[in-house]
Symmetry: C2
Subunit: 247 residues, 2 copies
DNA sequence: CGTTCCCTTGACACCGATCAACTCTGGTGG
DNA sequence: CCACCAGAGTTGATCGGTGTCAAGGGAACG
């Protein structure tokens, strides 16, 4: 069996990510690959999980992007997280009665369906792996808090720059950045629904970031031309991503 | 020993909260009381944990309010969570190198210091209690997401009304609400730093909520005069607090 | 090869920030 | 017991960032 490779030939992104923090044994790696075998393809713009569902599997992103979202009573949408390869959609949700939000695929996506029982077995016998999964959960929480800071205390220009800095680090952590270029499969409306803005204003801020020579964007791809400049512009401090774990 | 009572004679708020969701055995309850015995008093406006700390204990709020906060480079402060009796400050943080944010006491506070080892022992042998603690963690995450929704997609008036609805439910869950009145020990500036606003504008919105007969506020206390009206005004839907667990 | 998203740009409106006083309250010291 | 003071709350005037509305352009797709 062509282990440890996704259909596209890339290594399992969860392994790549966890090894930024922990040292996994060959056995741990095999267990992750094995658990990720049962996959499903989801079309772009379809729900992976809907509000109200009670998922009986854990969903792990293997390829593509997805977003957590919530619709408020007046019909507006707020995106509360981006999920990229290596991210769990609902690591813990099995103990709750129902999903209090939905998750939809931003691109065609490959998702592993891991039975809850498998997760239990995985973690019961592998303390190092369990610790690494915990670390990933804590990083996800740190990201949530940083989004609150972003929405509460930065202007539109800084918010968008900050998002780009964050996704750059996260994509790098799963080996999906080359020459400061990575896939950013978001419409301006989706960015707006993430940052508490309108698509029109996002457009203006992207133009400014482009005009100032900080980024190049187009065709679902983002190139960061001046990483230091972008970080300074946004007040980005990567410590909340806790990527320094291993070294 | 006068078990299960705080110095003020109230039951342990963590027990009160968890029993909203789970059925704990007498033994589980005793274990929580026992673990909460080593307490410390913190003055108002002092850090309980500072950014950069690596706490070697888990901190559990027993009395008073605290807030997670982050200072952005330009000096502005964003509060990312309120911690009330029964809330853990840092249930999981021991595996990280350093705190990426601080927590300060909003009022004089009583905090239990629980060694990490005690937490490990508690959870190792008590599946029902472990499950209940997990549930509490998931609720905390749901609260984080709802704050993102609040900041991103509601105006100032709705945001403040929503915060009041949330704290009403959470305070009720630990038995600290009487006749829709509860302690809300926040200055208008602190509310502003929570909601991404200025103190001046918070003041105007509070006046409006008062003028419309929805609330009465003053002297660190909030009375909700028209709960339905406040919920409608803010688009509040309590399902993210998953308080329906047990029944 | 037309239809449909998505992106782009301009003009104008409005929510919430900023700046500036003034009031009220509780605590402190003479 | 009162005078003072600092912090919090209150209110008005003005400014600016972002939303809204409107129109057109470009690229992907059937």
């Amino acid at each position: 069996m062509a282990t440890q490779r996704s259909p596209e030939g890339r290594p399992n992104p969860l392994i790549t990510k966890l090894e930024k923090y922990a040292t996994l044994s060959d056995d741990d790696r095999d267990a992750i690959v094995e658990a990720s075998r049962n996959t499903r393809e989801i079309d772009a713009n379809r729900d992976i999980i809907s509000e109200g569902d009670r998922p009986d599997h854990v969903h792990l992103m293997l390829d593509g992007w997805a977003a957590r979202y919530k619709i408020v009573p007046d019909g507006a949408r707020q995106i509360t997280a981006y999920l990229i390869p290596g991210d769990f959609c609902d690591l813990h949700v099995t103990i709750l009665k129902r999903m209090d939000h939905g998750i939809f695929a931003l691109t065609p996506a490959t998702v592993a369906y891991i039975p809850h029982e498998t997760m239990r077995r995985l973690t019961a016998s592998r303390p190092e792996l369990t610790r690494a999964l915990w670390w990933a959960t804590l990083v996800d929480e740190g990201v949530l808090r940083s989004w609150i800071v972003n929405l509460g205390r930065r202007d539109a220009y800084q918010r968008i720059a900050h998002l780009m800095c964050e996704m750059h680090v996260r994509m790098k952590n799963v080996g999906l950045v080359e020459d400061d270029t990575f896939s950013l499969p978001l419409t301006q409306e989706e960015i707006a629904d993430t940052m508490g803005l309108t698509a029109v204003h996002v457009n203006r801020m992207l133009r400014r970031l482009r005009d100032e020579g900080l980024i190049e964007i187009g065709g679902q791809k983002l190139t960061i031309l001046d990483l230091g400049g972008l970080q300074r512009a946004s007040g980005f401090d990567p410590s909340y991503l806790h990527a320094e774990g291993k070294t």
